[in-house]
């Protein structure tokens, strides 16, 4: 493309931000066509701002031309939230990745949205502080992306999702006005727009600075591996721990299918012949941890745990977690393709729903691996399949829908931490009435009257948004690869 072919949109963006912060050539845009979902879309332009003013200017220019604006971090989202499905300007925030401030005495930090979650954790180590949300993708996902999807992670069980840890945010609103929502303390006066914004998946504005709440590292921590012959026993053990009035920091389950894939590759220490393992972590004062760990061991043994192993060394603890956190990658390397789902059920329905998930998968002719946040009832069934096999893709999609239905029928939700994005917008009507969705739309319109911010996401309707998303999804699944 020569300079004479540059569109007025790109020309204005270049004039405002400088040519090196604006991408528009087709070969440059391709890198931003995908996120970690199964869909893809090409934006008209990509901007790479390094400060709030540049974000605001880009938004104003997009507004002037009436084109969509889609924010993006590392692109690790599973639900297609970072895809520019109607084109427009993709605002990539990975260049805004500074830690502006760590106020250790007051346990807050102010960071930019492109900062990688793990980099914040590492920066906090010298202070003995922790940013609690720890999505499994924390090595690459950004804090801004975590805000967008209200990310969870293993430690959500005790600490809650991202929203509980965000005190305030600087936001560029649709139209380009810059405001702060919330502040540097909890419970700012009046309406909690901060709480609504977190998890809005880029539909209400672009976050350009984030004040996060930190917690002090506990003096004691104990990580345990409980080994079971069956998934049912492991599920019952999760409930038994809660019944004994202990809420651990994390309770993660890996089933046999996952163990047999992960262990040979990661050497985490999971017994290969186990039906399921639970990874349980308790934290607190020395006395609290001693008590809680004893309760966990007794609860697991009462539910026929074959063995409960306590990580004695930090290296052993890290290995146990490494197995959990690399499970998806390991599964991806063992199958031509995998399809990762995210659903939630009441914790007590876990045994029943897991049984149904495995039955339905087997009936459809697929292996299904499960590694998930058992304490929260947050399932991640992962279907292994070969897209080259005749009809496999259609059956995987149908199975995914069936599994989401099982979660809904059990009184659960269609997503616990990955978000709705593009992938699940048509499922929203399974759990919400037309009036419920219309109320959400009122919020969206209050923030974005022109409807230009991340169109076709979350809500099942929208101007010019195709109702069905299964066709591109199907096409994509039919090419060999890892789709998680």
């Amino acid at each position: 493309m020569t300079s004479t072919e540059i569109s007025p949109l790109v020309r204005d963006l270049q004039a405002a931000l400088g040519a090196d912060l604006v991408l528009y050539a087709p070969e440059d845009l391709l890198a931003y066509e995908y996120d970690a979902s199964i869909e893809h879309a090409v934006p008209d332009a990509v901007v790479l701002p390094v400060n709030t003013e540049q974000v605001a200017v880009a938004v104003r220019i997009a507004d002037h031309y009436g084109v969509p604006v889609v924010p993006r971090g590392s692109g690790t989202g599973f639900a297609g939230g970072a895809l520019a499905v109607q084109g427009g300007v993709l605002v990539v925030l990975t260049g805004m990745n500074q830690i502006r401030e760590i106020d250790a005495d007051n346990r807050i930090a102010v960071v930019e949205p492109g900062l990688i979650n793990l980099q914040l954790q590492e920066a906090l180590v010298p202070y003995g502080l922790v940013y609690a949300p720890d999505p499994s993708s924390q090595r690459i996902c950004t804090i801004g992306g975590n805000v967008g999807t209200n990310s969870g992670g293993p430690h959500t069980l005790a600490h809650g999702s991202t929203v509980n840890h965000i005190l305030g945010m600087e936001i560029v609103l649709p139209g380009g006005r810059v405001i702060w929502l919330g502040g540097r303390q909890v419970d700012a006066p009046g309406v909690d727009l901060r709480g609504v914004f977190v998890g809005s998946e880029g539909t209400l504005g672009i976050v350009t600075a984030i004040c996060v709440r930190l917690v002090r590292k506990n003096e004691a921590i104990r990580t345990m591996l409980a080994v079971f012959d069956t998934i049912d026993d492991a599920s019952e053990a999760v409930s038994e721990v809660i019944r004994r009035r202990v809420v651990p920091m994390a309770m993660e389950m890996l089933d046999q299918e996952t163990i047999q894939v992960v262990e040979p590759r990661v050497h985490a220490g999971y017994p290969l012949d186990a039906g399921a393992v639970l990874l349980i972590e308790v934290e607190g004062t020395v006395e609290t941890v001693a008590h809680d760990a004893a309760v966990v061991v007794a609860a697991c043994e009462s539910q026929r745990a074959r063995e409960v192993r306590i990580a004695e060394e930090e290296s052993e603890r890290e290995a146990l977690w490494e197995g959990r956190k690399s499970a998806i990658g390991a599964l991806g390397s063992t199958s031509p393709a995998i399809y990762l789902l995210d659903g939630v059920v009441p914790r007590t329905r876990l045994p029943q729903v897991l049984r149904q998930v495995l039955e339905r998968s087997a009936a459809a002719g697929f292996r299904c691996a499960n590694m998930f946040h058992a304490g929260d009832g947050n399932l991640h069934p992962t279907i292994l399949f070969d897209p080259q096999e005749e009809g496999a893709t259609e059956r995987v999609l149908a199975l995914g829908g069936e599994i989401m239905q099982l979660c809904v029928e059990a009184g659960g939700s269609i997503t616990g931490e990955h978000g709705v994005g593009l992938e699940k917008r048509s499922y929203m009507s399974w759990i919400f009435s037309a009036a419920d969705l219309e109320a959400m739309d009122r919020v969206r319109i209050a923030f974005d009257p022109a409807g230009l911010f991340n169109p076709c996401k979350i809500l099942p309707t929208g101007h010019g948004c195709a109702q069905g998303h299964f066709e591109p999804l199907k096409q994509h699944l039919q090419t060999t690869g890892v789709y998680v």
């Binding site: 005495d105 007051n106 969870g152 809650g160 999702s161 929203v163 509980n164 929502l181 502040g183 540097r184 303390q185 909890v186 419970d187 700012a188 006066p189 009046g190 309406v191 909690d192 727009l193 709480g195 609504v196 998890g199 809660i242 009035r245 202990v246 809420v247 607190g284 004062t285 006395e287 609290t288 001693a290 008590h291 939630v344 009441p346 007590t348 929260d376 009832g377 947050n378 009184g411 659960g412 939700s413 997503t415 616990g416 978000g419 699940k424 759990i431 919400f432 009435s433 009036a435 419920d436 109320a439 959400m440 009122r442 919020v443 969206r444 319109i445 209050a446 923030f447 009257p449 979350i458």
Partner: protein, 425 residues
Amino acid sequence: MSNPTETSVEVSADIEGLRAALPPGTAVPVEPFDVDGARPALAARPNTPAEVATILRCSSERGIAVVPQGGRTALSLGRPLDRYELALDTTGLNSVIEYAPEDLTITVEAGLTLRSLQAALGESGQYLPVDPPPDDRVTVGGLLATARSGAWRGHLPAARDLVLGATVAMADGALTTSGGRVVKNVSGFDMHRLHTGALGALGVIVGASFKVAPQPASHRSMLLRCSSMAAAGALARALWNLNLAVRAITVLGPRVAEAIGLTAQPAVLVEFAGVEAATTSSAGRAAELARESGARAESSDDSLWTKLRSLGGESSDSVVTRAGVPTTSVAALVEQAESLGFAAWGHVAAGAVWMRSTDAGEPRITALRTSAEAVQGFLQIESAPRGLREQLDPFGETERELVRALKERFDATGTINPGRWMIGV
């Protein structure tokens, strides 16, 4: 009145039309429902969410101003009402809809009091870990609409972080639900968070689901008397940094100490909670730290917390304000407030400073708000006589355009709590 255009509309409010349209059996006497000395023309106590929705729809159609109320513990929070014709008493909505102890979740109606909720949970050794002022007369709807929290905040989550979903009756009569009953859920906007802290201005909460917690196996309190506010602040922060098994660390100014029956001296009040071994050990370590810093430690009971909590409640002759400031500024703000005649106390983990006075005027409150804002904090007037709430914005500086846009989308007719909420909508 802050909005003359809206007040002129009420001339045509069709009171008799609404009286006839109220769902059968919901009309109740108006006498108990005065707000700021004004008595409504009508009062209704619906028994179902659908009746609430009907009442709201019929009211908005007739230009009637509706004021939802449950435990009636926070009616002087917010600006004075522009209009008040119908009292909507939510206490008829008082059922536990579903309690799943093993899932640590409960779904209840909004008029249920915290006392009833905690009693239901207590049977399974669980509780909703919140302690808003003034006491457990607060209803679930009031808890969320005011978003108030107490001494536990910062050590434990607030109501806004424990609510999993809510059902809300909107001004136009629609009944809408958000979230769900599971403990982790990111499906759609968290509308329950929008209504938390919105004082009903965007819709009336009729039910909510919560994540609950096991009650701690033991709890105990300790009072640490200090020589100065600065010493109390330093000791409180040092305690916080020890990461003990605590549920509250609160600095007390001399005036508030006196108000709860202690000698007028700066102090730190600590509550330990957890397994017995942990609270015993933590109390020992706290006492040791206190000794090293020259404070006198003595064990205490729950009554001090109860008294402190009630001081955060409203009364006809008092002003209560709440500031949010950095933890490192808590003791200084307590000291300043006390020097201005307030009884003041501060929860260090949340950076929340509460102040109560019977003779505080606009200049003193403004001075404290200025101090809070100087450290990037805020000050909210939690309750005050009507005149003061006309003089001073209870909420302080706020985002105006979004608030206005939301009110227009959710309650275009200005039916619910007109004038009371932020920016006078």
